[in-house]
């Protein structure tokens, strides 16, 4: 019996490993249902699951502090140039240590640039010693490469499609103000919806903070998954979400289209428990893709366990205290983007440059999806959720490859959809190619 199959302690409670796997969505649907059924009747395991969830968040947060800063190292291109330099040095020495540190006496390989007779490497920034002559040669070579690359980029730039829709601009408005807050209570539940303040404009990104507290002694079930370490916002399976209705022309259909393409939902929504005295807080980002009178409304689906005719316990939708009372907000959305709230993108052959007002730069968010195909299958990449964008340059994703009979087959890049925004500022999007 392995560690996880031994799911029950002597007192009948679930093991921490089983709970962690459930929280991480790593269990099968049947296993997850068994866990949920147990949790619905076991306060001890429920409390432990809650503790494990917050513990994993705290640990991941601490570990993320070990990450290098985005500017602490050169990008992959510069690193690859250094790799070629190293390879070249090994070629020259005609000796290569293998994975165990032994010396390989075979003749050594050349990189693609070496093969082309144009080995030109940047100087390594660390404390490596260089002969003066070699350094001058390297610098001259780097200048030549820079000139060649620059002219190539200029040539390619005119052929790269510009990012998607850029809304019209209007004169400036003030800074982003205090959020608007709405609160309601029903059935022992209290809910607040807090939205980025107006004035609102077309293509604006709003931050919607939804908080639901259970003041009753009843455990509620909600369809959707609340916890997802490292993820700011999972549009697909949130237990609470804000839905936008109404609005009129003009609409930002390009943004609508790109957002739909960038957000792919996989798997089942799962179920979130709301225990007595528990609060769940969710941040969602909403794109105002239509102008005029728009309604923003919070939504959720309450659930309950029920015994099916097959003898298996199923989790099904049911009525809830907020039916017909979910908090909502009507706003007026102007058709033009204030110049001080405008974020723009500039597409390059292999990257996208972000331009944003200074106040927005620390709050930029990024969403993307890309597709690659090879001879046997298609690959889909991208998170499907917003992540913090710490840099103003977004590198184009690279396709992987498959290996057939020892022969690597590169996948073909099909499409990349990218979206950038910040709460209170515009959202911009683009596609490649």
């Amino acid at each position: 019996m392995n560690e996880q199959q031994q799911v029950r302690k002597n007192n009948g409670c679930l093991e921490a490993g089983q709970l962690i796997a459930w929280l991480d969505g790593a269990l099968s649907q049947q296993e997850a249902n068994e866990v949920m059924v147990h949790l619905a009747t076991c306060a001890r395991c429920t409390a432990e699951a809650r503790e494990l969830r917050s513990e994993s968040r705290r640990v991941f947060d601490l570990l993320s502090r070990l990450d290098p800063s985005p500017t602490a190292h050169a990008g992959p291109a510069a690193a690859f140039a250094r790799f070629q330099m190293r390879l070249y040095a090994q070629n020259t020495a005609a000796r290569l240590p293998d994975a165990n540190g032994n010396i390989d006496t075979r003749a050594l390989p050349l990189s693609s640039t070496e093969r082309d007779g144009s080995l030109l490497m940047p100087v390594r920034p660390s404390a490596r010693r260089h002969r003066p002559g070699a350094l001058i040669q390297t610098l001259v070579a780097a200048l030549v490469i820079a000139a060649l690359l620059g002219s190539t980029l200029l040539l390619l730039r005119s052929r790269v499609p510009s990012p998607g829709s850029h809304p019209k601009q209007t004169p400036s408005i003030g800074p982003v103000g205090t959020p608007v807050k709405i609160s309601i209570q029903a059935g022992g539940l209290a809910m607040t919806m807090q939205i980025t303040s107006g004035p609102y404009f077309l293509s604006e990104m709003l931050a919607a903070d939804l908080t639901l507290t259970n003041h009753s002694q009843t455990t509620y079930l909600l369809e959707g998954t609340w916890d997802n370490p490292g993820v700011i916002d999972d549009h697909c399976h949130l237990p609470l979400k804000v839905v936008m209705t109404g609005g009129d022309s003009p609409r930002d259909t390009g943004l609508e289209h790109n957002l739909a393409a960038a957000i792919s939902c996989y798997g089942t929504p799962g179920t979130t428990q709301l225990l007595p005295n528990q609060t769940i807080t969710i941040r969602q980002y909403v794109a105002l893709t239509s102008s005029g009178h728009v309604t923003l409304k919070a939504q959720g689906t309450f659930q309950k366990p029920t015994l099916g005719q097959d003898g298996v316990i199923h989790i099904v939708s049911t009525t809830g205290p907020f039916d017909g009372h979910w908090p909502s907000l009507q706003i007026s959305v102007q058709a033009q983007v204030p110049s001080q709230r405008l974020i723009s993108l500039q597409a390059q052959p292999a990257q996208v440059i972000v331009d944003a007002p200074p106040d927005a730069r620390g709050r930029l968010l990024y969403l993307s999806a890309y597709d690659c195909v090879d001879a046997r299958s298609s690959q889909h990449g991208g998170g499907g959720y917003w992540i913090n964008l710490a840099t103003m340059v977004i590198e184009k994703p690279q396709c992987g490859f498959s290996v057939t009979n020892g022969t690597p087959t590169p996948a073909t890049f099909v499409r990349w959809v990218y979206v950038v925004g910040a709460p209170g500022y515009s959202i911009v999007s683009g596609t490649y190619p």
Partner: protein, 181 residues
């Protein structure tokens, strides 16, 4: 041009494939290495070494996930090697110099989180606590915290997928316990 095991030259397509892999996974490999060693130069050396091994002795991977797992596993192994060497060197120095017993990493007083925060060295505290976990727990926690699924962790480590949750739970509990000591 690269050679295969028989000494024949690789095609330009294979070189391009290698470049694509390098570009795609270098940031991840570098990030893993940096998390272990905490120094840009050392992390870069590890990342370069990972791809050098991949270049000369590519794994027999049948899909992209296996290659990614291989790259990360080698990065972690090299990171662990650096930590082992550091620990060995540190232990030797400590025997020779009693002053070294007051080192930041091992002093119970200095491991107080608030002092590290004040000193701007919280990352070193986290790294030192992390390094004290059993290696099996370190690897699972590191991979999970960088976005690996349970299936991918199992692929990279050889640990049964049904045991990953238990390893992670123990790792997180041990980590939190040490952090608050």
């Amino acid at each position: 041009m690269p050679e295969d095991e028989k000494g024949s030259r690789a095609t330009s397509a294979e070189v391009e494939v290698f470049e694509a892999i390098f570009t795609r996974y270098y940031p991840l490999v570098y990030r893993l290495a940096y998390r272990y060693v905490g120094q840009a130069d050392e992390a870069e050396d590890i990342a370069q070494e990972v791809f050098m091994r991949f270049y000369h002795l590519p794994p027999h991977a049948t899909n992209e996930a296996q290659q990614r797992a291989w790259l990360c596993r080698v990065a972690i192994n090299l990171g662990l090697n650096v930590l082992r060497k550091r620990k060995s060197r540190f232990d030797q120095e400590r025997q020779l110099d009693t002053q070294a017993q007051e080192s930041v990493l091992d002093s119970a007083e200095e491991r107080n989180p608030e002092r590290f925060v004040l000193a701007g060295e919280q990352a070193e505290l986290v790294r030192s606590i992390f390094a004290q976990l059993p290696e099996r727990q370190q690897v699972c926690l590191m991979l999970r915290s960088t976005g690996f699924s349970y299936e991918e962790i199992a692929e990279a480590t050889g640990i049964p997928i049904t045991s990953i949750g238990s390893v992670l739970a123990r790792a997180m509990q041990a980590f939190r316990r040490s952090y608050h000591e």
